[in-house]
Symmetry: none
Subunit: 224 residues, 2 copies
DNA sequence: GGGGCTCCTCAGCCCGCCTTCAGGGTGGGG
DNA sequence: CCCCACCCTGAAGGCGGGCTGAGGAGCCCC
């Protein structure tokens, strides 16, 4: 099992390396984000331990860049902070687990083994409909090679359509699944968001993937 | 994506709800098994997070009851215990995955997304009569490989004919099934719609699949 | 505090769908 | 052969579902 530790703090890095080696890991250490990013792309590590606070490029950036580069090695983020921000941010950037400093060596190893056990699954759950791609976990979306920036709501609506591609989805259903059930506003909101989506994922590309099924709802199609 | 969290511990429930909402889920919370069971049957959730230790009815019971009630929503069981017993028991009762407390939010979300990914898409119930195909749920219709665009009413009338293919269906019957029972308008409306249908599904293809049975009604035939 | 962004509301408009209606065609029984 | 019931057909109008643009409230970050 080969692990890459990206950690700028010398003492911690050395301690991690020693401990992991004692547990049978083959350990490489990178001391800053740029180096870590490079190594992670060059070598097929089984898992990466990534500190958040790094000189130059921080852990989130490294993580995101790796995923953008189609590197799906499981990543465990180390963070000194404890805020919720880190947690959600880590998820957004595609990390697989995270650990708050200080942590026990045993816990770290347990988490790493858990990640390894899960094996390849870090692979993104990208859903494709024609050349429209959606990564619900990463909250990202593409038409072909062009990335499309969507807001949270837009993405949720599109996610629901994509997950039911080819089927008719009623406005009521979208409302129930994407909005909270205590939403008492204008159901017209669904039409509005469909319009937003069409403006972003269809019209600029001359497509018509979100069909209106009058009286029933909407249907997402491949639209070759 | 709509998720039901069944968890009696207030703090954990609130934290789960907040976290999941931050990840774009629409979250409902039930604080005991009975409430959870009821909600899960009333609302079409995409996934259910179910604690084992619940007042009144425990997670296993809820799970079993749901499956007995033909509710197939993916269920992820939360357990404080660590025994293998729980795992096999959970799977026996029809749960889809389980997670041992304490767990990281990231892991929970990853597991939920995995469940959603697995979620089986609704199977298409396509009815065929000769080379005429109808997908009532998808609101679509084909003659051979050619898709035919039908309005809601047209499709409803055709659906009734297709479901009784080969039999004579009276106009009164069509009226009662396709229109509201209290429809007091001109029964001629049925003739009008049969005409519309013939213009779309028969005439362009040189077919005559909707036969008139004078004095009785209409009959849909294969019309090889 | 202000600018930008996201989310939501609202009202007006337009087109397509549903329905009605009247007139013409057709077939069967006397 | 004639008549009447039954069915077909074309046109027209009203209505409602869906679309659209503008704008305001809340939020976050600078």
């Amino acid at each position: 099992m080969r692990v890459l530790v990206v950690e700028d703090e010398e003492a911690l890095a050395a301690s991690l390396a020693r401990g992991l080696e004692a547990d049978g890991f083959a350990v490489d250490v990178a001391h800053d984000g740029v180096d870590g990013l490079w190594r992670a792309q060059e070598v097929a590590y089984d898992v990466i331990v990534l500190d958040l606070m790094l000189p130059g490029m921080n852990g989130f950036q490294v993580c995101r860049r790796l995923r953008e580069a189609e590197v799906w090695t499981p990543i465990l983020i180390l963070t000194a902070k404890d805020g919720e921000l880190d947690e959600t941010e880590a998820l957004d950037t595609g990390a697989d687990d995270y650990l708050t400093k200080p942590f026990s060596h045993l816990v770290l190893v347990a988490r790493l083994r858990a990640l390894l056990r899960r094996g390849a699954p870090a692979r993104p759950a990208v859903i494709e409909v024609g050349d429209l791609r959606l990564d619900p976990a990463g909250r990202r979306c593409w038409r072909g090679d062009v990335e499309i920036t969507l807001t949270a709501r837009e993405l949720s609506v599109l996610e629901h359509l994509v997950r039911h591609a080819g089927q008719v989805v009623s406005k009521r259903e979208i409302l129930d699944h994407v909005w909270d059930d205590d939403f008492e506003g204008d159901p017209n909101i669904v039409e509005v968001y469909v319009r937003y989506l069409r403006k972003k994922v269809d019209i600029p590309f001359g497509r018509a993937s979100i069909e209106t099924v009058r009286g029933s709802g909407y249907r997402l199609v491949a639209d070759g």
